[in-house]
Symmetry: C2
Subunit: 873 residues, 2 copies
């Protein structure tokens, strides 16, 4: 017959799926001889059996529980419900994965009208015993039997009033006996039966309550969100109680084997004399640093330090432990791998390698790529942030921390920054015209737009702190104020932004600069040794490119050429091009842009030296470049003699209902081939000149955006190749170049085999691909996505982590089809997903050659790429 | 050895791929004993061989040509280049498929300085002989040797000036000899060799020129557009010349065996005495009705009628023939199946069945489904249209013809129509609020928007004439005028629209009402007997539904519920719903809409009786329903006490950058479940009531739009099912219903297996699916698509014919995946493509159960569905 109950001396840490995480570790600690209060674990199989039988616990399992209970009584030399020496137990849930939402803990089970007397005698503290009893009745009534907690509270508060006391602790044992009386009456009235005096009955009810809680709503939702299978079930741990509140030779504590904050190798924790864990949680008493335990309990502390060392060596990782001291004797209640900051993760991993406990691959796996983002940006001083006044919460759009004076236009922000002020740029939402203001600002705050809005994308690219979509604030750009909850902040007022959490604070909060320690560099070098996926960056300027190289980028995967057009001295030329009536006028305007573009590319090539550089031809709809305000139109009109009506007409003609699906991408090159010609010429001539001047052998990769079919790709490719060959001939150069395309429309992916006839590389533009595959515009659906996440429909942020079921299917299909046509086709990704660890793993598995992401995510991608190799070995 | 040349008596009509269409028919006529001037065909294989050898004609093929030439001389008892009795030939290209773009015809090949004299003698017309010679040199120089035509023209015009004459025909034989001298000099100067006097040399050069022209740019483009394979090659027909201009006992004609206009069984054609075909083409003389031939050439005419009968019986189809009479002797030069109007196609097909020449399946194949659209709408009187003043051309957005006074707002149009005026509604573009105006109008004209813009879609749905995207006209809605080419038309002026061609005319043009003759009904009934695909309709009103049933619809595949919301008495309720702050307010507003919706559905169910009805839950973005103008907002504000700021804020809050990818479809049901609840209640209660009142067993199909994933489908389905079950319980009904989804996002298709867990049917919304798969918004990309078509990038209108390579891949994938999960899943299509014949065939092959289209396309779909079965047997 199957075994449904394991004593702690029967299991091991490898039995997580049977005993749950907690049970497996209790068994392991027991196995290696550490002092663990004895007990047993009812398995996840028992839970599954219970559910399968329609929430009925099998009699055979009950028998098995009772057998183990008898063993426990024997080991502990105590008896359930005994008036002199009662056995009390804790009942705790413990699933294979840590899982909030389920029933957690019931303490002191076994108390009844007799046992409470035994507990009073044993602890010499009658008040404590009755307080434990009343707590147990309340918890049992509330959690196990589902009697509303407020009804218990009413009785308790009534007694306080009656006794004329303000605090719980002022109630005497006699008061508590009154409370217990009231609780029992309530229990009977609500449930029609007496509160069970039989401890075995209590135990079975508690076990079943844990099993039931596996399927409560919160637990189901949590599993859905975390993708934990619904059929794992939970185990239940039944453990003899030990009492840290047995006098001044007792106590309770929690500790880490190393600092979870910075990774330093030293016991780090808290301890409380003469107390139970519950007291700490309830906030009745403030725990002391663990160092005080060393003073007051020198022998027990030594014991504990030794135990901690054993655990760390045994688990080969930093441990997070719970323990109790009862009459100078140490008991371990829990151990698990400790949570830690990114800085601690890096240091612990490196130290453990140096201590010979783990190898480099394990060390690389120990650092959460997403978390190291913390290390690359300034952060708030933690204490200062705790004390600051939080005024709103938006989306954590770009990590880091910043404070500054608020300004509402790019020009104002620039002026203030030029004046030496620290500036926060506040906008309803940003547009490409705000770029200079964003550069000048410490951080950006927007009221609208999601995680991939313009503000978010650009800020992340700059490594600049940004809180986006902060809908609680009302931005009046006219009044230059923000209003939130009735309070108004005006231009020049200080606010602080935490871009890693989305929190917005009033006033200035001190920031701490990032420090990329030697350990960080070391672990990254290990990651580089493991990974096979190349990591490139999305960079539009030499400055971005330089930053990215410092972060380890091996090339540029996406250089957007349109950002270059927004600079003040260039935008008139592009505007003239847009309103041109004839191809000749258009060419004249483009000729004016050529030297600028060539200069841009030369700057980038010089920084990148011979690393690959992928340059995307003009992508955004032309109307983005047009002046929108009367004043801007007037200026342009006066300066170049373009009639105002023409500018107005251009704005009307170029207006689009759905610009995302409009006149953009390579559609611009098809309708205005001369734009593609000018850009190709700039790309090729710059490469030729840099080769001549610096000797770098540049092989530009010219990327055609938004391709939907082979005929379109061929048409634009032909323009590019003809122009490039002409440039080469003019300069007598034999420079090489590649022509490829973004795959960012579903059709591009579906017909990738046909498109690959004319494309030497594919770069997946998964931002647009996600938008079109889902039909979700990232600019418009922030609110909807929030509702979808709340309702459990979306499990992940689709713009943050690549949707493998849908979008991923297209990516895989396109990779396979591309390779079928052209076996050596180069495959990369340049959407935001290129810097997301889970998406990086997907890219590795899909057979991509590289990922490309914003400079600040390059280290994350490098680490994730290494982990992908290790995970998929 | 392969055979590269066939005499006309060696081939047959089944050798189209070898001899080309023209050559095969010449051989066939020869075979069945009809009088065809003798000749031979150089095969497509010779062409392919020529191309494969790098544009070199193989000596063996030359030998074969000469052998057949010798045979031709023998048969004709004439000799190439003979001064007394010269053999002259025509050289004509003839590919397997009719293909403009290639070299067409060279006449009178064989003329040289000697033969021209023979021709003069033979025809007794020296001027004609020399004119033929100079034409031949010019055509040979231009077409075969690529000497610019303008250079020949300059010489010719010089001679006219010199002779002091105005018209070509006034040049004498002597003048023409001068021209020939000039031409020969030009030829020598340009090409460095003399004009070839050796006819064999002329012949080989002409044959090679035809071969070369297979790969000229226009021909390649044409093949690309028409999807004709590039490797077919063309044949060349070499045929002895006969001379219709040999005197008054000669002539030339073209004729049909039946009327190509109405299908009447009688010879229909034109004839010209003493003329060559070229004279007709050149417009020098106007041909006479064929009846005159019967008078002037009674014997030859009898011969011809008999020949025509033989041909029709032989080809079992109406024939389009070219013939020449030389000295009272009939020669057939060409026969082919004749092009015809839809009316003629129907009548000829039915008549041929009745005459026992073809079976019903063949008859059904003989009618072009796309063409029968002509039969369902009014059309212009052809003569009246020819004489009218055309002022612009837009897109033929909805077929038919209409005239009326122009009005610029829906309200004005309604008022004028109520006054008894015929009205054309003119708008920059229409929106749902124009609906009443569109109903009142005879036709709709818009300046913007493509074939699937709102105006186009709605007009087609109504079967109402519409010209859309007519960008040449400038609409001033403020001034109530349209301006085109400097001319202004004001409110109340008459214009006429041809929705089948996109032409816009000034003034009134008389229209002819459609007549669905008995023949039409008969052939449609044959089609119904063959097809397996069901044909449903897209209909939102009882009137539409009724119209569709008259056209043979078997159910409703798409009933949009939002159109119902735009009616004047309802829109306030939906607006109150949108600006509601709480769920309760929203529910209150929705309660106000419930009786209307229920009434709508009852009306539709009553018309449809027990036919299936698919009702789609609310789909469009909510902002479409909001009042946009100050006045409308004020009215709503006053009437319901909604503060103006709230309405303004709603307009701002609901503004979207890309509404197509925004808050719409089932996203509305997820964020406001109460909307889906109200609609479900209306659908189910209406069905229950109609069952009670009329006894119809309605099984409503409730369709959830824009689904992207299983969890979303389940969420909305749960709402629908819970509500429906509640309604059934309340009414004690056991009514049945289905819940399914639109597949209209790429992700919906990619994950159809998962979605099918919760969907009992799929309906492909290929409009949106096309937009998202391509990333082409149909509202914005009209101009771009035009450029794409011009440049040969798009072969078809992607919104008119389903893109099988891309979108079709998704449809097929979704069908397969849907069936894998749920083998009996019902599959349909309700996008515009459901009424496109090629798309209907695709749907048949993909295994769909039905197509759904606008009422006026139902007959087209029925016919196309029958043809799909026959074609894919």
């Amino acid at each position: 017959m199957a075994k449904f109950v394991y004593s702690f001396n029967e299991g091991s840490k490898d039995m997580k799926y049977v005993l749950g995480g907690k049970g497996a570790n209790l068994a392991e600690m027991t196995k290696i001889g550490l002092p663990v209060p004895f007990g047993f674990t009812v398995t996840t199989d028992a839970c599954k059996d219970y559910i399968a039988k329609g929430n009925v616990i099998d009699p055979a399992i009950i028998d098995e529980v009772y057998e183990h209970l008898a063993e426990l009584e024997q080991v502990m030399e105590k008896k359930f419900g005994d008036i002199d020496n009662p056995l009390l137990v804790s009942v705790r849930s413990g699933a294979p994965f840590s899982m909030p939402g389920m029933m957690d803990t019931i303490l002191n089970l076994g108390l009844n009208d007799d046992a409470v007397k035994g507990l009073a005698a044993k602890t010499g503290n009658e008040r404590f015993a009755y307080d434990s009893y009343r707590r147990f009745i309340q918890m049992f009534g509330d959690v196990v039997m589902e009697v509303s907690k407020s009804k218990f509270d009413a009785i308790f508060d009534g007694q306080k009033k009656k006794a004329g006391v303000e605090y719980d602790v002022d109630l005497t044992a006699e008061d508590l006996k009154e409370v217990i009386k009231g609780y029992k009456e309530l229990y009977k009235n609500e449930l029609g039966v007496d509160f069970p005096q039989e401890p075995k009955e209590q135990l079975l009810a508690a076990i079943q309550a844990v099993f039931r809680s596996w399927n409560n709503e919160r637990a189901i939702l949590y599993r859905k969100m975390e993708r934990i299978p619904d059929d794992l079930g939970t185990a239940v741990n039944v453990q003899a109680m030990v009492f840290g509140n047995s006098g001044d030779d007792s106590g309770t504590g929690v500790a880490f084997t190393r600092s979870p904050v910075n990774g330093e190798k030293a016991i780090f924790g808290e301890f409380l004399v003469n107390a139970q864990g519950e007291d700490v949680v309830a906030g009745i008493r403030t725990p002391k640093p663990i160092s005080e335990m060393a003073e007051s309990f020198p022998d027990v502390y030594k014991d504990f330090v030794k135990t901690a060392e054993i655990l760390e060596k045994h688990y080969k990782d930093m441990q997070d432990m719970e323990f109790t001291v009862e009459n100078n004797k140490l008991f371990m209640l829990q151990t698990r791998n400790g949570k830690r900051t990114a800085a601690a993760a890096v240091k612990v991993a490196v130290d453990l390698v140096e201590e010979g406990l783990i190898d480099k691959e394990t060390a690389v796996m120990r650092v959460d790529p997403e978390a190291i983002d913390q290390l690359l940006h300034p952060s708030f001083d933690a204490d200062a942030e705790k004390q600051a006044v939080k005024i709103a919460k938006g989306l954590p759009a770009s990590p880091g921390a910043a404070f500054g004076k608020i300004y509402f236009t790019a020009a104002d922000a620039e002026a203030a920054a030029a004046n030496g002020d620290k500036v926060i740029l506040v906008r309803e939402e940003t547009s490409p015209e705000d770029l200079a203001g964003m550069v000048a600002a410490q951080g950006i705050l927007t009221a609208r737009g999601g995680m991939t809005s313009h503000a978010a994308v650009v800020a992340r690219g700059m490594g600049k702190c940004c809180v986006a979509g902060c809908s609680a604030i009302h931005v009046s750009e006219a009044d230059k104020t923000i209003t939130v909850d009735g309070k108004t902040y005006k231009e020049g007022d200080f606010i602080s932004l935490n871009g890693s959490t989305g929190d917005v604070y009033e006033g200035e909060i001190a920031t701490v600069a990032p420090e990329l320690s030697g350990d960080f560099a070391l672990i990254m070098s290990w990651a580089d040794g493991i990974r096979t996926l190349r990591v490139r960056t999305n960079a539009d300027t030499p400055a971005d490119a330089k930053q990215a190289i410092e972060f380890g980028a091996e090339g540029i995967g996406l250089c957007r050429t349109e950002h270059m057009f927004f600079e003040e001295e260039r935008i008139p030329a592009i505007r003239r091009m847009i309103v041109a009536d004839t191809e000749e006028e258009r060419r004249a305007a483009l000729d004016g842009l050529l030297p600028y573009q060539k200069g841009d590319f030369k700057g980038i090539y010089e920084v990148m030296e011979e690393r690959p550089v992928t340059i995307r031809l003009l992508d955004p709809p032309l109307h983005e470049f047009l002046p929108k305000t009367e004043a801007d139109m007037k200026e342009l009109s006066d300066k170049y003699g373009i009639p105002m009506e023409k500018l107005e007409k251009a704005n009307i003609d170029l207006h689009e209902f759905n610009p995302m699906l409009g006149h953009r991408g390579c559609r611009l090159a098809v309708t205005y081939p001369e734009i593609a010609e000018m850009q190709t010429r700039a790309i090729i001539e710059a490469a030729i000149e840099v080769k001549e001047e610096k000797g770098f052998d540049i092989v530009p990769e010219i990327m055609i955006p938004l391709t939907v079919m082979d005929t379109e790709m061929k048409y634009v490719r032909d323009i590019v190749v003809a122009t490039a060959e002409k440039c080469k001939e003019e300069k007598g150069s034999d420079i090489k170049y590649l022509v490829g395309t973004m795959i960012e429309t579903p059709r591009g992916a579906l017909t990738a085999d046909q498109i690959a006839e004319y494309a030497e590389f594919f770069s997946f533009g998964t931002n647009d691909l996600t938008q079109m595959t889902f039909g979700f515009s990232r600019d418009d659906t922030g609110k909807i996505i929030k509702v979808y996440e709340e309702k459990g429909i979306f499990k992940d942020d689709i713009f943050g982590t690549l949707d493998q079921d849908g979008v991923g299917q297209l990516v895989k299909m396109a990779c396979d089809k591309g390779k079928a046509t052209r076996s050596n086709i180069k495959l990369g990704i340049c959407g935001e997903h290129g810097g997301d660890p889970r998406s990086v793993e997907f890219c590795y598995k899909a057979g991509l050659n590289y990922v490309s992401c914003s400079p600040y995510r390059v280290p994350i991608a490098r680490l994730a790429a290494a982990q992908a190799v290790i995970k998929n070995k």
